[in-house]
């Protein structure tokens, strides 16, 4: 608000920056299709073990028993591998940092092989089937209610993510695929708690996904959404853009005509 009285041009600069920032909020959303789960075979398990020893064992231990740098993978199931490696979160650049969603390092077959290997170590959640993420008959209303009860506290009511302790965060769900959502709920990646199929049934999970898909449409009946971060961006907008425009006009009104 320290707008210079003597240099109205500065206002334009402020306005420009503000508009630029607002524009940047509309990052494009990618919609890649998910790799399909496949049935495990003995050779696949062996191949997976090989890949595991090369790429994962330094943190998770040679027998996947875990170490100070990474948790045990016994019993985490194929779903955990498919989620972590399939979303590019694993392999991680270093221990004790938050895994981020990025292009996967491994191919679909390699991921399937590693998933088969980890699944062979102990019983755990399997990769959800296509049926499990089919939302055709899902209830968007119940999904919304469950989302606001169980998910919005971390991921925000609009699914735009939020802050956790010590630099960790709950990710934005705008590009999450249905399978990823189910896998995250049943495996509890990183700091996310597990939402088991008993407390939130598979059908209810579909309802939640249906609601997330509704959010992903980003319908904005009232206009641009400013990132859906809530009132903070609205406040920044009113100062930088709203008052900015009015002050520019005020300068025009107060200036001597030629």
């Amino acid at each position: 608000m320290a707008l210079s009285r003597r240099h109205p041009a500065a206002l334009f600069a402020v306005l420009f920056v503000a508009l630029g920032t607002t524009g940047a909020a509309y990052a494009a959303v990618s919609t890649d299709t998910a790799p399909k789960a496949s049935v495990a075979s003995a050779t696949q398990v062996d191949q997976g073990k090989q890949l595991f020893l090369e790429g994962c064992s330094s943190c998770h231990g040679v027998a996947a028993q875990g170490s100070s740098n990474g948790p045990s993978l016994i019993g985490v199931g194929a779903a955990a591998v498919d989620f972590q490696v399939g979303s590019g979160r694993m392999p991680l650049a270093g221990p004790n940092i938050q895994a981020v969603d990025k292009p996967p390092v491994y191919s679909e077959e390699e991921i399937a092989a590693m998933a088969a290997y980890v699944a062979s170590l102990g019983a755990g959640p399997a990769i959800p089937s296509d049926e499990a993420v089919d939302t055709t008959n899902a209830d968007v209303v119940l999904g919304g209610e469950l989302f606001r009860t169980n998910c919005s506290q971390c991921h925000n009511v609009a699914g735009r993510g939020g802050a956790l302790s010590n630099g960790r965060w709950a990710p934005n769900l705008m590009s999450s695929e249905p399978k990823e959502v189910v896998e995250a709920m049943i495996t509890g990646p990183q700091n996310m708690p597990v939402f088991s199929d008993k407390t939130i049934t598979p059908q209810e999970k579909k309802d939640i996904i249906r609601y997330i898909q509704e959010l992903q449409k980003s319908n904005n009946p009232g206009g641009a959404d400013l990132g859906r971060f809530g009132p903070v961006t609205e406040g920044v907008f009113i100062f930088l853009v709203g008052l900015g425009i009015l002050i520019v006009i005020s300068v025009w009104i107060g200036a001597k005509a030629r």
Binding site: M1, A2, R5, P8, V140, V141, G144, E145, R148, T149, S152, Q153, C154, H155, N156, V157, A158, R160, G161, G162, A163, L164, S165, N166, G167, W169, A170, Y211, E214, L215, N220, P221, G222, G223, A224, D225, L226, R228, F229, G230, P231, V232, T233, E234, G235, F237, I238, F239, V241, G242, L243, I245, L246, I247, I249, S250, V251, I253, G254, A255
Partner: protein
């Protein structure tokens, strides 16, 4: 004056004007009113933005009352927003959804109302800064300053009440926090909360109670105070910046009729138009995403509107102090940030004109504004206050900052806990230094003019740079500076050799006065100016230059 030239100025007003005058004896007063002169400056429009936003709020708010139902009775939603169909919610929330989805232009009106509210408070805040930094609060305008402070306080309360009415998840969370803070008030807190909410939180009564406060009580007081505020501006006449032809005892500008009326009237339409365009294109508070309020749900990024952000921020960074004395709990972690700090902030804001007058001993009327640099201590205090406010505001946004930049919320909070004490004094020092520098520059300009870049060789071989004198207009601005000397120290012993009992109090006052005014760079005296001018005229600026 050639401004207002009626085609035939011998003709008395006819028709309606005459009809009114026959009954109210209004012509004399009205013609004086129409001739009233207002000075032109962009910063004088900030208060207008606030005024016009208030009018827009009254208009759009009236629209909303036609459909809004201030009731916490539970209903099953059956409107056209599919993802909430069949859900139990309060009538207040259901009717807000109805306004947003089923009333044509309802969403537009809701967004106009909300954006105008943000405008109202933003404009009031920036208007306050303008008045502060230019010293427009000085005698004779102290009363209007106090009214302004009250308007700002009430505006914040009014905004929070409006934010709470739709009964969505965000407004309910805000009310829960407000109730929690109320409970922390010693002795009466629990009763206060129970009475206001008609029992425990959330109860059945609060929305309808808040509604009458929001649409009747506070707007009524606001309207009355705004009216008084404006009448005083009219009656006392507007202040003006120093400049050619402007003195403490005149006002230079344009007459109310027709120019100022066209400009101010036009500006109303501009503010209304901009608010409407923003409301058409930019969403605000999409309540349907938040869902109906229930005390068991919450969202990441729970935030108040911007004008409450600083208060929420204070609550966020306060360390967790609580004491138990004789079976009673004192929640310092809430009392200090939510009651003590705002209390101190608004009280000192309201009292500021008297604090400064106490330091300056200045009882004169001031109709010429200070350029902020010419009141270095005041400007530095203002920037210090703003930086303090900003630190609180950032604290209120700590989770959003953490999310947006992937920073640690804990580190941001820890940093701000320190920054709140460190940044404001630095802001004070830097601003004061900067202002004094500008003052010295102004003085230089007056005495030596601009460096022209042309170099002249004097007969005896020395080179000097030719300085161009400042124009008369500039001189008028630069010399329009009311220098105040610090108050002299009161003698500890009076003329009869008796110890002066008031000396201690006076000592504090002189110290305050020195802190305010001691390092002020005075404008050149008339004599200095005349000397400098004669030098410039005779072209012998040699000694002047070598003296530096």
């Amino acid at each position: 004056m050639s401004t207002v030239t009626p085609t035939n100025n011998t003709v008395a007003p006819g028709g309606a004007a005459s009809w009114v005058d026959d009954r109210l004896h209004a012509s004399g007063g009205l013609s004086k009113l129409l001739k009233k002169v207002f000075p032109d400056h962009w910063s004088f429009m900030l208060g207008e933005v606030a005024l016009y936003s208030f009018i827009i709020l009254l208009l759009s708010g009236t629209y909303l009352t036609l459909w809004f139902k201030p009731s916490m009775t539970e209903v099953i939603y059956n409107g056209s927003y599919m993802p909430l169909k069949g859900i139990k919610m309060s009538e207040a929330y259901a009717s807000t959804l109805n306004i947003s989805f089923d009333v044509r232009a309802g969403l537009l009106m809701r967004q106009i109302h909300h954006w105008a509210a943000l405008f109202f408070l933003a404009a009031m805040s920036v208007h306050l800064m303008r008045v502060f930094f230019t010293g427009a609060f000085r005698k004779p305008r102290e009363m209007n300053w106090v009214i302004g402070t009250v308007l700002l306080t009430l505006g914040i309360l009014e905004g929070f009440a409006g934010y709470s009415l739709p009964d969505d998840l965000l407004s309910g969370t805000g009310l829960r926090i407000a109730e929690g803070i109320m409970q922390a008030i010693p002795l009466v807190g629990t009763y206060l909360a129970m009475f206001l909410f008609g029992g425990e939180f959330p109860g059945n009564d609060f929305i309808s109670r808040l509604y009458s406060v929001h649409i009747l009580l506070i707007p009524g007081i606001l309207l009355a105070l705004v009216t008084v505020h404006l009448i005083m501006v009219f009656y006392q006449k507007h202040t003006q910046f120093p400049g050619a032809g402007r003195t403490e005892s005149n006002v230079v500008g344009f007459r109310l009729y027709p120019i100022y009326m066209a400009k101010a009237g036009g500006f109303f339409f501009i503010v209304f138009g901009v608010t409407t365009l923003i409301s058409a294109l930019v969403a605000i508070n999409p309540i349907w995403l938040y869902g109906p309020y229930t005390p068991s749900q919450v969202t990441a990024g729970s935030q108040p509107d911007w004008y409450m952000g600083w208060l929420d921020g204070a609550v966020r960074i306060m360390p967790n102090l609580e004491t138990n004395i004789l079976g009673h709990t004192i929640s310092w972690n809430l009392l200090v940030p939510a009651l003590v700090i705002p209390g101190i902030m608004f009280t000192s804001l309201g009292l500021y004109p008297w604090i400064e007058a106490f330091a300056s001993g200045d009882k004169r009327e001031h109709n010429l504004l200070d350029r902020p640099r010419n009141a270095p201590t005041r400007t530095a205090l203002g920037v210090m206050a703003i930086s303090f406010y900003l630190m609180l505001w950032f604290s209120g946004d700590n989770d959003i900052i953490a999310t947006a930049f992937h920073l640690s919320i804990n580190q941001i909070t820890q940093t701000l806990r320190i920054a709140i004490f460190v940044v404001p004094p630095i802001a004070y020092k830097v601003t004061k230094h900067f202002c004094l520098g500008l003052q010295r520059k102004d003085r230089e300009l007056l005495l030596h003019g601009y460096e022209s870049g042309e170099v002249l060789r004097l007969p005896h071989g020395e080179f000097i740079e030719i300085h161009k004198p400042v124009s008369l207009e500039e001189k008028a601005v630069l010399m329009g500076k009311a220098d105040i000397a610090p108050l002299p120290a009161a003698p500890a012993i009076d003329a009869n050799g008796v110890e002066n009992p008031a000396a201690r109090k006076e000592k504090a006052r002189t110290r305050l006065s020195a802190w305010f005014y001691a390092d002020n760079v005075a404008a050149p005296s008339a004599q200095e100016l005349a000397e400098a001018e004669s030098h410039a005229v005779h072209g012998s600026s040699h000694e002047e230059i070598s003296a530096h």
